[in-house]
Symmetry: C2
Subunit: 238 residues, 2 copies
């Protein structure tokens, strides 16, 4: 499978092949083109991206580590299906971490950072206007990650990264149709607070934004998606 050489000049640190595959899979999950529970066969993925199972396996393990996919021994990899309990924990963790990072971001953001954030929002609006809800959701997540990055806490930013990824799955599973996706407004206010160097406001805005998101999820009904068929098909009463 020798791919023709691209026009790319020799870069000293070419991206590892497994990272490319992991990135592509991650994007597909974030944009809800892959649904929770979907089987991710190694041969199949390898064929798509023109790499061997070795690479695919590495990519899947990487995604499994951030809990975007679940790997079951001798059974394969599946797009993860966070339980309601896990969903609650993810949002509790976000509510603990992100308000603080927003505060720090307000203290450290440069003009260029603000521009980046505004560009994110613009892209998000454009995607939404184009009806590409998956892409809008993905960009919305990137917005949060960008804030953590601006805060200069790469460790916490890594955690936020993982939490955002899982949130995407959670939204795919538990989003209530009734509640509209009106985050753009919250994001806009957040940018203004950060641009205005108003740490406390940024912190409060982030907190309430996350609480809004959390409350727009349906984590109480017993309509939890089943982890296994056996679990799914059993009568609740019996």
């Amino acid at each position: 499978m020798n791919k023709p050489h691209s026009t790319q000049p020799r870069t000293l640190h070419r991206l590892a092949a497994s990272d490319r595959v992991a990135e592509a899979l991650s994007l597909a999950i974030h944009e809800h083109r892959l649904s929770p529970g979907t089987k991710l066969g190694e041969d199949e993925i390898g064929e798509v991206y023109g790499v061997s199972r070795t690479i695919v396996r590495t990519a899947l393990q990487s995604l499994a580590h951030i809990q975007l996919v679940e790997m079951h021994r001798n059974r394969g990899a599946f797009v993860a299906q966070p339980s309601q309990q896990e969903a609650r924990e993810v949002f509790e963790a976000r509510e603990l971490l992100e308000p603080r990072t927003a505060h720090m971001a307000a203290a450290r953001a440069t003009a260029a950072d603000i521009d980046t954030l505004r560009a994110h929002i613009a892209e998000e609006h454009a995607a939404m206007a184009a009806g590409d809800r998956g892409r809008a959701l993905h960009l919305s997540g990137l917005f949060h990650i960008e804030i953590a990055r601006i805060a200069g806490q790469t460790t916490i930013a890594g955690f936020v990264d993982e939490l955002i990824a899982r949130s995407s799955l959670i939204i795919a599973l538990y989003w209530r149709r009734e509640s509209a996706l009106c985050e753009s407004h919250a994001h806009h206010d957040l940018i203004e607070a950060i641009a205005g160097r108003d740490g406390p406001s940024a912190e409060d805005l982030m907190r309430s934004h996350l609480v809004d998101l959390h409350s727009a999820l349906d984590l109480h009904r017993s309509a939890a998606p089943a982890r296994s068929l056996k679990e799914a098909l059993q009568k609740p009463g019996s």
Copy 2:
């Protein structure tokens, strides 16, 4: 060691070979038998544990993800050497997460949990008395992880797990000899607060304990350990 998670599959699977190797390496790092910067050759490790490079590679990738080892493309894996900046970030993250988990743990701990914690302390004392400083350090870390587990936040517990692991490296690199290792006292007080269901006290005790640890590190001197030989041997002035 990691206890099996709540979502145990219906079949009791043998531990994967790569997990065994990763666990062994992790333990060696935690107990300071492997120093930061040590090269981890794949063939060498494979020979030690009687497995092929495939397994070793998986284990190393797993450890790289929690930043216990650094992998450099085409150069191999090394025990990670957190910079002073990274060290600060790790402890800032711990100071953000762990006091809260201590609070929650106080609210949820069962009698059995308290016993487990006391057993941890006893083992830690025993190891220290036996002069096994590495093992004592490891057990001290497990104590913190156990508290996060008791708090019932498996997601945050996972983060704490990673932070503890990195802390072990940080202590290996930046611990000031002058300051004595007097944590046992802090851990003891923490247990009492948790046993007494005193959440606020547990939170405060955890916070001050972490601040103590943090301040016992030497994160200001420019004696940062070099990441590479080249960097180490260059004259500072030139």
